[in-house]
Symmetry: D2
Subunit: 344 residues, 4 copies
């Protein structure tokens, strides 16, 4: 295949930076236009000094004109911005949307959680979900999942599909602060974040809740109730999700659960069920496209407990996006994607 | 009342250090013997440089002989050590055990979770639980709760007692690393902890699980099932607990729940239900004896969600211990205990 | 003495919050007006949730009218704001300025480093400097030092005054991020700060440079050259300063240096020369008004090396301010000021 | 060239882990034996869970027998261990020693700083030093520099060689905690490290001092005095070095200095002089082999100030080691080495 020429809109943000980090290491990619909103006209190196090879690139405006003429365009923009841009890029350009606009299939859900007109839904960029890989292969439009839905859906789908648990899941997911992007809000200041843990979006009001419910319900074929609590912790990257659900048969043991997960992910290059007794850490996934999983049964409470760890910016955003680009363009799915984390 | 002369066994550890920090500021206390295990013979200032006024004190051995002759003796020792010491200190000495030995009421539970002979149970040092304050008043033996049971029990008891939720609670609690003490284990090294989140003791196997279940079941008067997942996060202190349970009546709204919690804690000096819309952070409780709470209802999932924040070393250990000392010795319960945290 | 009624302007910021934390624990103080700039009209608890007893106070505007009628007014405002306010508060009100306006004695230095008209200089609020305590006793105007000048001046003055070193000092001071206040700047976001170290204001351009030089030169009685490099590190609070200067006599040994520092600070309640071989940590000073010092001689390089640790918000700002209030109002200097840190 | 078969001794430590992370991504390398000391017999995944592709490898003993038969052997061992092993590996095997044994050229210095018999010195693995690259090309023995000497030597050599500064340098370098390795010491526990800054090895007693002095003196051709203070900060990786020295001509301006550094590093693939006004952060180098530099002149103090940032485990240890392997084996020097960091 010829070299894939890509553009990134939103290159000065965290998702954009991670996309570029991965795409710089991708053997089939050539990096074209880099655009931004308020930062247009400045050097990329001011915002992303870690991207040494691109430090002197000047950011353009995120217009369709600047983004046109590439094989693939990655959109890392605030929600509500991608539909219009995508329309102008033409049906032959691969558009990978890291925003929320095209994730939800139900217009009513869109209206409830985001408001405004639904832009329609695109193939959902989590290849490890049942049926998703096929829909992504050869597509020219990808809706990259939210970071929380990525780690939590993969933690729970196998058990739901196998009928091991009732469709009433409880999730508490702890995240690093890059998930909030570079927004200048007081509670995201270093002095506030370091040395503190805080809950937010509690009570089912976080916008990733309907997306998780959609993934689980679609996989199961019937509605799944999701209680989701996100927690902010003092680290830049990483999501650790603690997920549980009542066993349908209280006699189900950990071995049976383990067998289901082993089978479900046996062929997945980016999902790793850890050896028995070893629990996931986010550090082991830092900068990699891996999902680390462990499962067990809480016998006293008769619940399945699954813990997953991902890097919210890599598998949770940019790595997932590149994985989908590979599928869409017919490249080997794993091309250019690290399976090794950066630790300690 | 005359000055209370106290001793601390385990003065070189984290619980011991926090006890001394609080006791130094307590207006009715005089600090007597300070003892340790392996660190006996060394200056306290080598281990607790922040305790400036005590820096030159030399640690004695944690023997009954050294601990005798005080009004109150605080034991911050590995479990299994306190029963024997307490027996030698005599019934008139107040013994406040920060270890686990006398928390569980059921010998079978002790045997299952800790092993060996049960040392018996002492009045449980969480005055905010129903009936606990009376049992602590004037007592000469106190079993200080574990740090997780403190924040989680106070988060859930009012709803259970009021019949708002079914007795099947799910808890994920995120903690700073001082909860593990000063044990020299590779996973507690700074380089491992910083930049990482990890789950441990998953599946109901953490030793605080039976203690939480005991607290909730005792309060309710019938068994409560507890699914508990602890998560280690990169900060020295603090526990943020995300607690939920199914509503008995799905129509229960947040206002009704709020009213129950407001009433339950109206007179508690150390429990604060935050104003509506404000969620707890551990930073606001750092170094203070406060429990910060917020409640809501997840309408879609028909669950109550409560989030609590404490400082695991203060209200979760040493502050709770001093609060119990106050009650036991007839001092005003709040004497010497900060309600103000250290932030940012 | 009657109770001191105080007001704090800038109560929603970090300096203001720390002032209130200390003043809440001060036995002779009653807290009066709390004012702010953009946050006027909001509850203090939104900005300073750790200040539980004041959480429901509503912030007023920082006007002379609101601040009038108090015994002492603390100004924690952006520079350039205090002179005008102070003029309106009358000469009998104690005005403690935590800003920079009245620190520099030389109008030309003010113009070079801050620009605009010099507001004049007030007694400098570092009682441990030679002559400073006398000037502060009974004063009604105090210029609280910057955080860097506090720890670094106390580290170097004794050696300069004793003639141990040449007047050419080199300082690298590492700080937590609260020193920058709550300003919403991208480089202060948690995700940027955590996991990174960065230098800033390098090459003698940080505004604390002339203040350090002024302190050292005044103490010595002749000009001292200061090379100062500040470094930002991932923690909320604390300054660790590495200070060195060439020995005037290369044969000077560590014992001789130690003797000078022991003598210089023998009677200072808030300065502690650590035992030989123990080096300062910022954690040991967290939330306390202590300065921890250690000294040595680098024989090969023929330099004196002094390391100091402080909490930039406590001794470095608010604690120093309260210490000066005590002196100004004739209270014992140590009243209400913690000598014990919060660790770990 | 044929594939390079490598072995790593000390694979369960931090240096070993970083070597493997880089070597896994190196296109010309095949990973052979992985050995350890106390961890021999365990799975690598227990110690380095981030190295997914090698997780199931079982560690062998660090014996010459196990390490024989490879093209290159990396030694990440405690000092004093490598000479004997190297002798048994034969002169045709490339031995890259990440320990200190063969860094110092002067046996007396070895004896003073480490004690015991000097093992002799090997070509010094910092290709960017004058003359070093030639000595490394084709060699079969490499002494990888210490982490502090790497960032500080590159910061100071150009100015010394150009005669811009007097040979009296002052360095304060701030480091993450992985530099201390996985040693189980109380002061390296997460709860101690987080929220604290501490100095150690002050007064010229850190073992990297003679190595820095050797590098600078060798480059200059005459003795350079080094005052070096290391500071421990709460992050896993990264060294930020603040380096200064008196200008020989006080009239030297920043432009002149800049020109010297631009010329010195114009052709170096891993050293980047940042654009004027932009100061290095360690985050920008995280996981990369880059050195980020900035220079300025402190006009008032008449000193040159240089700040450098590196990742202590990458360019400071393992990346430098791989760079030397490339040179030794005739591969392009940059093969397999990232120039892009992982941020935020």
């Amino acid at each position: 295949m010829h070299v894939v020429r890509i553009a990134v809109a939103g290159a000065s943000g965290y998702a954009g930076g991670e996309l570029l980090r991965l795409l710089l290491a991708h053997p089939e990619v050539e990096i074209g236009a880099l655009t931004a909103g308020g930062n247009a006209g400045t050097r990329l190196g001011e915002h992303q000094p870690h991207l040494t090879p691109l430090a002197d690139r000047v950011l353009g405006e995120s217009t369709a004109e600047n983004l046109a003429g590439h094989d693939a365009v990655f959109l890392a923009l605030p929600h509500g911005r991608s539909a219009e841009l995508a329309a102008q890029l033409g049906p032959d350009t691969l558009v990978v949307d890291c925003g929320a606009d095209h994730r939800l299939t139900d217009p009513a859900a869109w209206d409830r959680w985001y408001g405004g007109e639904h832009a329609g839904h695109w193939p959902y960029g989590l290849p490890e979900l049942p049926g998703a890989r096929a829909a992504l292969t050869g597509t020219r439009r990808v809706a990259v999942p939210g970071c929380y839905p990525t780690g939590t859906s993969l933690a729970l789908v196998p058990a739901l599909v196998a009928g091991l648990v009732a469709p009433e899941v409880v999730i508490t997911a702890v995240t690093g602060t890059s998930g909030a992007g570079k927004s200048l809000k007081p509670h995201l200041l270093g002095a506030e974040v370091m040395g503190s843990l805080s809950a937010y979006g509690v009570g089912g009001v976080h916008r990733h809740t309907p997306e998780i419910a959609q993934n689980l319900s679609t996989a199961l074929g019937s509605p799944v109730s999701v209680s989701f609590t996100p927690v902010l912790a003092p680290l830049p990257r990483g999501i650790l999700a603690s997920c549980s659900a009542p066993l349908t048969d209280p006699a189900t043991d950990a071995e049976a659960v383990r067998a289901v997960y082993e089978k479900a992910y046996a062929d997945e290059p980016f999902v790793r069920l850890l050896p028995e007794g070893q629990w996931p850490t986010t550090a082991q996934t830092l900068g990699s496209n891996m999902v680390a999983l462990q499962v067990t049964v809480d016998v006293d409470a008769a619940r399945l407990v699954v813990v997953s760890a991902i890097d919210n910016l890599t598998k949770g955003t940019a790595g997932g996006a590149v994985q989908c680009m590979n599928l869409a363009l017919g490249l080997p799915e794993t091309t250019g994607l690290p399976t090794t984390g950066v630790a300690p």
